[in-house]
């Protein structure tokens, strides 16, 4: 087991800072990076790494959501609906973690990511053509309790959008939540493309809403690990400190970055994660 020296403390904080920036901009928890880092770099057993990762995801989600909610980026109502299914999935995932063949789950996960990444790349072109139409949408289109509006400082305009396909999105959220409990990831890697492609949210709103939600699914998963004494407090603590400061920095980047850039980075990230998962 890792002895937390001052050098290791600095390494973990620095890593957490980088993850915090990336996670807050992309709407993910960063678990897909934290778990391999803790297992490969510090030789921490995978169950402990997943538990520590989930604690860090709660930190990312809470920090970023505290800013994005007030600024109107996160769609809280949609978040509440989807996080309910994510929480059920996270509990299920955490409970079956010890039963299922991890390689099998990783392979399914990896294969699942490829079509999403390609769809997102294709949508970048489409969304840039549709941008004007989205911004100028009429009030007839802009209705329903889930519809939302936010000010995008990168283009200095209000963005209005309507939410669609809640039922399929809820079912896929269950899958995203189960991955959270099973693999120690936030589930944002599923939720952001889901809300962008299926529900029709602009990518910034999708990233912010995902960050709002993943705290609950990670929390549901981490309680199960907590009861089993699998959280390594010192390592989780160091990671949380780095991640909170990284997230605070990342939120400022999110507000200034153009949506297409976030979408392109996310698509690339999905593709790479898919390859990594398949390689085991």
């Amino acid at each position: 087991m890792l002895e937390l020296t001052f050098i290791n403390f600095i390494i973990i904080i620095s890593f957490g800072f980088c993850i915090g920036i990336m996670a807050s901009v992309l709407g993910i928890g960063g678990g897909a990076f934290m778990v391999p880092f803790l297992v490969l770099f510090f030789e921490i057993p995978i169950h402990n790494a997943i538990a520590v990762s989930l604690v860090a995801i709660v930190a990312v989600s809470s920090t970023v959501a505290s800013i994005n909610v007030e600024k109107g980026f996160a769609n809280m109502r949609l978040g509440i609906i989807l996080e309910m299914f994510m929480a059920v999935g996270a509990i299920t995932g955490a409970l079956i973690l010890f039963e299922l063949d991890e390689k099998f789950v990783r392979s399914v996960f990896g294969i699942f990511l490829f079509p999403i990444s390609i769809l997102m790349l294709l949508k970048i072109r489409k969304s840039s053509r549709k941008r004007d139409e989205e911004i100028d949408c009429s009030l007839e289109k802009f209705k329903g309790s889930l519809s939302c509006m936010f000010y995008d400082p990168s283009i200095s305009k209000d963005i209005k959008y309507s939410v669609k396909n809640i039922l399929p999105a809820s079912l896929i959220s269950f899958f995203g939540g189960s991955l959270s409990g099973l693999l120690g990831i936030g589930g944002g890697i599923v939720q952001v493309p889901l809300m962008n492609l299926v529900c029709g949210l602009p990518i910034k709103a999708a990233a912010a809403t995902s960050n709002f939600m993943i705290g609950v699914s990670a929390c549901a998963g981490v309680f199960i690990f907590f009861r089993r004494g699998l959280i390594i407090n010192e390592i989780a603590g160091a990671l949380v400190i780095g991640i909170v400061f990284g997230s605070l920095t990342g939120v400022r980047v999110l507000h200034k970055t153009k949506s297409n850039k976030i979408q392109a980075v996310f698509a690339l990230l999905l593709f790479m994660t898919g390859i990594k998962m398949l390689m085991g």
């Binding site: 403390f9 709660v58 809470s62 809280m76 609906i81 309910m84 609950v216 407090n233 603590g237 400190i241």
Partner: protein, 91 residues
């Protein structure tokens, strides 16, 4: 609209309080650990526990906020999420 802003403000305050308090205990824990003043594990445990309550308190804030503003549908949905979190803790 004002009610919506009030809910958002309450959520923000609840999350900021939990993250801030959790961070305080964690930083104190590392200061004591590296200064070798005394055993710091209780600080780490407290910090992490406070942090883990952040989503729970956020959900409770939403239950109250939506109930107060008459959006009972979202209040009930938030209550379901709270029930799921409690279930996860008990399991």
């Amino acid at each position: 609209m004002n009610k919506d802003r009030e809910i958002k403000l309450r959520v923000k305050q609840a999350l900021q309080f939990c993250v801030g308090a959790g961070l305080f205990f964690l930083i104190m824990g590392f200061m004591f650990k590296f200064a070798r003043v005394f055993h710091a594990d209780k600080f780490f445990m407290t910090g992490i526990l406070i942090l883990l309550t952040a989503p729970v308190i956020r959900v409770i804030t939403l239950i109250y906020g939506y109930a107060k503003s008459g959006e009972y549908k979202f209040s009930v949905l938030s209550l379901t999420v709270l029930f799921l979190l409690v279930t996860a803790f008990v399991l």
